[in-house]
């Protein structure tokens, strides 16, 4: 049997179940308790795991607006064996905590030659929401996917939000769990099974096709699914490859699709120049050169700080039309 819910509800259900199962799992972040979370993922948590009247609740820990400091406290707690989930109000704010995430969480296992583990999840909305402008709309996925020692996941579907959160919490390594704010209201189904999980490091084919591979992750996978519907009307049969996990990256799923269709478009919301899509394209040309019938095309966010005006903002974020235009370039 399956349960229908939104992406946001699937995340909340996954986190709540893991907190119920394991008393060493806790969540911390800005306004997640009494205020119920800025994007309401932790709605009702303070009542379930603490008390509204307490000065603080260790399992649902409201923090001051000091990202670097509270991230470090989470990492220290993870080094002692607890399993913290650190919520960033937006991934843009995790920039304040980069030193803690990259210099400390990602490296401690290596620097201790395996003696210390750091089982921690850093999660939050990354990318553009709606008119939040330049400082609240960062896509941080590619930045983190550059760092050995981190795992980075970007689920695009409701079932994956649910199942990959389970895997992220169970993982003994620091995991960046990237939620695009545009996905929170997307509806879908999850299996009615609290032990359901989706492994980190596996891509998937969400739509089979023979003419061209549309490769992406997070909300861009939803854009690809919509673009594929439109292109089908023109007789172009797209295969939608959902990368799901950037680090580790499941290149086999990507390569198998490219070897079948011989053409690929890679879409990512991050700035086009230097974004993670460029890494995917580079790998395809290195390993599948003889299988390609056309250059692999990147579709990325415009290389500008995100503007406020809605028409300009929409211009910056890759759309179905941008994907379709890219497909027509090589088909």
């Amino acid at each position: 049997m399956a349960l229908e819910m939104t992406y946001r509800e699937a995340l909340a259900k996954s986190i709540e179940e893991e907190m119920q199962k394991n008393s060493e799992v806790f969540i911390m972040g800005e306004d997640i308790g009494r205020y119920q979370g800025t994007f309401k993922v932790t709605r009702g948590f303070v009542e379930k795991f603490g008390s509204r009247s307490a000065n603080y609740n260790y399992r649902i820990l409201d923090t001051p607006i000091t990202e670097c400091g509270f991230t470090g406290i989470g990492i220290g707690a993870a080094m002692a064996g607890l399993r913290p989930i650190v919520e960033f109000m937006t991934m843009s704010f995790s920039i304040l905590a980069l030193d803690q995430i990259i210099n400390h969480a990602a490296k401690v296992h290596y620097m201790t030659n395996g003696e210390v583990k750091c089982p921690i999840v850093f999660r939050g909305p990354g990318g553009a929401a709606k008119q939040l402008s330049a400082q609240h709309s960062h896509s941080m996925d590619g930045w983190y996917a550059h760092v050995p020692g981190l795992k980075v996941v970007c689920p695009a579907t409701v079932a994956d939000a649910y199942g990959m959160m389970k895997s992220a919490i169970a993982d003994d390594n620091p995991v960046i769990f990237y939620e695009n704010p545009g996905l929170y209201t997307v509806k879908g189904e999850i299996p009615d099974d609290i032990n359901y999980s989706v492994p980190i490091g596996k891509g998937q084919i969400l739509r089979e096709g023979k003419d061209i591979s549309l490769i992406g992750y997070s909300r861009m996978t939803q854009v690809h699914l919509a673009a594929a519907e439109m292109l089908a009307k023109d007789g172009i049969d797209c295969e939608v490859v959902d990368v799901r996990s950037l680090l580790p990256l499941d290149t086999e799923t990507i390569y198998n699709s490219v070897r079948k269709t011989h053409r690929a478009v890679v879409t990512y919301e991050d700035w086009r120049s230097g974004g993670f899509g460029g890494e995917i394209v580079s790998r395809i040309q290195e390993d599948c050169f003889d299988d390609l019938d056309a250059p692999v095309i990147r579709v990325g966010g415009l290389n500008v700080p995100m503007p406020y005006a809605r028409n300009l903002e929409l211009l910056c974020i890759p759309s179905e039309e941008d994907v379709i235009a890219a497909v027509h370039k090589i088909r």
């Binding site: 806790f26 000065n55 603080y56 260790y58 820990l61 923090t63 001051p64 000091t66 670097c68 400091g69 509270f70 991230t71 470090g72 406290i73 989470g74 990492i75 220290g76 707690a77 993870a78 080094m79 002692a80 064996g81 607890l82 030193d99 803690q100 210099n103 400390h104 401690v108 296992h109 290596y110 620097m111 201790t112 030659n113 395996g114 003696e115 210390v116 583990k117 050995p148 020692g149 795992k151 993982d171 003994d172 390594n173 490091g201 580790p248």
Partner: protein, 352 residues
């Protein structure tokens, strides 16, 4: 005991007058203090020689002059239970917590026998089995981690505290203030210990701190805050013991500034100390040498003689040389180990 006299600009005499007190510690305990401090000093002097001979590289920071501080605090805690974390001047803490000295020197020399198999180096010594969580290279960066260790103890209802060491330079980092706020807000059993050796690398205290009395910085966060003399091991251990047990009982943080001095440069690569201090100042600082002070105290009590001291020094020197021979015979890590332990459950993509 609060020493509030640090308003002058003369260096090396910050805590000019050392307190008079009655020594009640046993001869055996005092000898252990002396041996521990002397061992650290000889070990660190050996590290300096090893570095100069090219058998250690990178950045290496020794503890010469500051021995009484680490000895006092490490004897005040429950070893192996309580958490200890520090920055990159980390050899002494590991040695005192029970890390085999050959594993410390081996790491400094980048050998397989090192605490991290040669992957960490001098700045990254870890020994979690003995409660030692490093060994960190970003000034101030480990301070929230230490609070996180204390948080874990509090979360689980354990009877542990965290001793969170930092230098005076780190006391200016923003994340330290963030952490103090949360340590107080969440009632964390964490003792922040500032090893104030009066220099943030080559920048003197009065040039890097708007108010040289760093101890005051805990007060706005409603944290117990004090300044103590770190050049007297007997007093240091007594005071540290009181603070550690207070922290354990009250489940509250403390912010303790300890006045000390490093006789060596900031790191092994700091070859020009006269850029930031005078020879006269160093000579004056040597009059506060914690080892010489304890030796004098013990002689006056009849617990020590010059002959016995020399015998101990020779014994410890021989021990350091023995350790060095072990490390020098230990191989460098195997090339294929480069990919090990980046993750607990997978290796990253290989190759250039």
């Amino acid at each position: 005991m609060l020493l509030r006299s640090n308003t002058g600009t003369k260096r090396g005499s910050t805590v000019a007058k050392q307190a008079e007190y009655k020594i009640t510690e046993s001869a055996a305990e005092l000898e252990e203090h002396l041996r521990d401090m002397l061992f650290i000093r000889l070990f660190e002097e050996k590290c300096n020689r090893v570095y100069r001979e090219g058998k250690a590289g990178g950045y290496m920071h020794v503890y010469i002059g500051m021995e009484a501080l680490a000895v006092g605090w490490m004897k005040a805690i429950r070893k192996g239970e309580d958490y200890v974390i520090t920055a990159y001047r980390d050899h002494a803490h590991a040695l005192l917590l029970g890390t085999p000295p050959e594993a410390v020197l081996g790491e400094v020399m980048g050998r397989k026998c090192g605490t991290a198999g040669g992957k960490g180096g001098s700045m990254h010594i870890y020994d979690p089995k003995n409660g030692f969580y490093g060994g960190w290279g970003i000034v101030g960066g480990h301070i929230p981690l230490g609070a996180g260790l204390a948080f874990a103890a509090r979360y689980r209802g354990e009877d542990k505290v965290c001793i969170n060491f930092m230098g005076d330079g780190a006391a200016n980092q923003g994340v330290v203030f963030e952490t103090l706020n949360m340590a107080s807000l969440y009632d964390l059993p964490c003792v922040f210990v500032i090893e104030n050796n009066e220099f943030a690398m080559g920048t003197r205290l009065e040039y890097h701190a708007a108010d040289k009395e760093l101890w005051k910085r805990g007060l706005p966060f409603d944290i117990r805050s004090e300044r103590l003399d770190g050049m007297d091991v007997i007093q240091m251990k007594r005071q540290a013991t009181e603070i550690v047990e207070w922290c354990r009982k009250e489940q509250r943080p403390a912010w303790i500034e300890i006045m000390t001095y490093r006789y060596s440069g900031h790191g092994a690569a700091d070859n020009d100390r006269q850029l930031y201090r005078t020879k006269e100042e160093e000579e004056l600082a040597w009059t506060r040498d914690p080892i010489a002070r304890l030796k004098k105290q013990m002689i006056s009590l009849g617990y020590m003689t010059d002959e016995k001291y020399e015998a101990i020094e020779e014994e410890l020197n021989n021990e350091v040389e023995r350790i060095y021979e072990i490390c020098d015979a230990s191989p460098f890590p195997d090339p294929d180990e480069v990919y090990d332990n980046i993750y607990s459950d997978m290796t990253p993509e290989k190759g250039h």
